[in-house]
Amino acid sequence: MRQHSKNWYKLDNAGKLYPSITSTRVSTVFRVSATLYDEVNPTLLQIALNNIIERFPYYKVNLKRGLFWYYFEYTRNYPVVEKETFYPCMFMHYKRKKSFPFRVLYFNKKISIEISHSITDGTGVVIFLKSLLVEYFRLIDNKLCLEKDPGIFFSHDPIDQEEAEDAFQKYYQKNIPDPPKLNKAFHLPFKLNSKGEYHIITGIIPTEPLLAAAKKHQVSLTQFLLALYFDTIQDFIHSNHIKLRHPVVMNVPVNLRNLYPSKTMRNFFISITPQIDFRLGTYSFDEILDYIKCYMKMAITRKNISQYIHKNVKNEKSLFVRLTPLFIKNLLMPALYSKYAERNFTSSISNLGQITMPKSIENKIERFEFYPPPSRGNIIKIGVGSYKDKIYISFGSLTKATEIEKIFFRKIRKMNIPVKIETNRE
């Protein structure tokens, strides 16, 4: 057991919100999974987890209630791997004693990490999963020769103190103005599923033709998929003759580690919000692409992002907010979150990017997938991840309707790009 100067730490700026808004429908839990070519050995996976969790002490914690805020307390217990039985990304009782804010699941050839957003973001969990996989394969073959990779931590590596920092506080600038406020967005008019159900539809697409299509329009893959998603929603609105009252607004999380030199393994992202008002008329795909290209270029700059960091940290630092007891925060937060966050987005698209593994184990893993957290406000969300020559686009949905997914993937098929669909729907 490693010695810590103190046995607890504060939740980061983004993470502070999540325990208070968690409910049966809004689990705030997302999943990153890896599918291997061989059956998972649960005993070895447990040993690998026990070994690697020591390298991630900031995840080996239990959530505790303070008088004013939640906090994480280091624990001597070890998380236990479980066989996957429930729908993905279901709520976890991590507020309960001795519960971890994540779970490691296995099913046939798949290893999944489901983690609460209160502790980390997609980048953090990808590094955690990759490190767990490396440890797992090292246990299977102890002669495995692995080259150094900045995205993988070995169990014996020294821990960098920067990994546990709250990067939002570090890069907070005090005297700058707030970003412009958002208004209410259009919401997809679908009926919600029964509680406890979360449907996933994953489209498996070869990266090369999709990337070529994006390059043809001189945009990145994320921008291309975002444009496609806007176009999908536009088609859905037109085909169903929906009278719009609000613009379509997307929530696109941006990994700030690419903008700021932070090594943090906790949350460090800001959501940018491209929006198109389809009341102005029908947008061609090229028009949507042009808008997104320009918007992204303007939005993803340190100056613009620092405004969002400023706003979030300023709210947290407010004396009134700090002195409000936790039980009142828990009562108010869900309503405030709905009013100032979810209500202002139509959906979200989050891209983890290309995930790579060391050459020696690259061919032992078939794929990586990313499932977004279910949310009542945005009942359909997209999580994207790429591995080797394929891209995995997963729609997480709290509704039985599949209209959006159908239009989206048919659009890709019309570009003559093959799509394979997998789902957990019955």
Binding site: F86, M90, N108, K195, G196, I201, K406, K420, T423
Partner: protein, 241 residues
């Protein structure tokens, strides 16, 4: 690999209809591919109901302890302090009945018919206990018992109608049948009260309630159920906002 002819997407062997458009997928010989037997997802269970039951049990356990403590406190007060034994007995009977009502409210009895029966039985026990505190039954047999039996019968009737009815629109069904239930209950209630008081039945206020509520119920059901589509459309056209 099978394809959806409509969407053009490839899907797994085991899937019988397209996950995107639900179009039935033509059968392909499963033995041709080794991947055919591989499950990508477990048969998912719904965690919600399991967790809900756990939480419900915890809440019911806490309430049971509270009620047990309340009974103990009342008994202690009754034996130590000089308070009216009648008041203490009334309180104890009410608190114990509350526990049974909470048990019902938590939905531990699955069948709705059994729940109504249990509701009636608990209420009979409660009223019997309350009337019998002074070891003399004054109003239990004459008023409480017939009214409770009447209420249970009406609830049974409404539930039966709900289960049998083709009218599944809850916004029409529930108000309409609530009107029927209340109108029947008020008429029967006045009969009981009148008979016990005057040994004769002469309906007055309940008749007004009966006529008004029955009319509302019949209009609601009639408009929704029996009205021809042409008429429904005409009403919609004329009254649309």
């Amino acid at each position: 690999m099978p394809y959806c002819p409509k969407c053009g997407v490839e899907i797994d062997y085991k899937i019988k209809s397209c996950p995107l458009c639900t179009f039935p997928i033509p059968k392909i010989d499963e033995d041709t591919s080794p991947i055919a037997t591989e499950n990508k997802f477990p048969q998912p269970e719904n965690i919600y109901y399991e967790e809900l039951l756990k939480m419900k049990n915890q809440a019911f356990f806490a309430i049971s302890i509270l009620i047990f403590s309340a009974v103990m406190v009342l008994m202690t007060i009754g034996s130590i302090f000089r308070v009216s034994q009648l008041a203490v007995t009334y309180s104890i009977i009410s608190v114990i009945s509350a526990w049974f009502y909470i048990f019902l409210f938590f939905g531990y009895i699955r069948s709705k018919y059994h729940s109504i029966l249990a509701l009636g039985f608990i209420t009979i026990c409660l009223t019997y206990g309350l009337d019998n505190v002074d070891h003399e039954l004054n109003w239990f047999y004459t008023y409480a018992l017939p009214i409770i039996i009447l209420a249970v019968l009406i609830l049974f009737l409404l539930l039966y109608l709900y289960n049998r009815s083709k009218l599944k629109n809850q916004f029409v069904f529930i108000p309409a049948h609530l009107c029927i239930g209340i109108s029947l209950f008020s008429a029967a209630l006045e009969c009981i009260l009148d008979f016990q008081a005057n040994r004769a039945i002469q309906l007055s206020w309940s008749l007004i309630v009966f006529i008004v509520l029955m009319s509302i119920a019949l209009i609601l059901i009639g408009l929704y159920y029996k009205l021809p589509d042409r008429m429904k459309e005409k009403i919609k056209r004329t009254l649309h906002i």
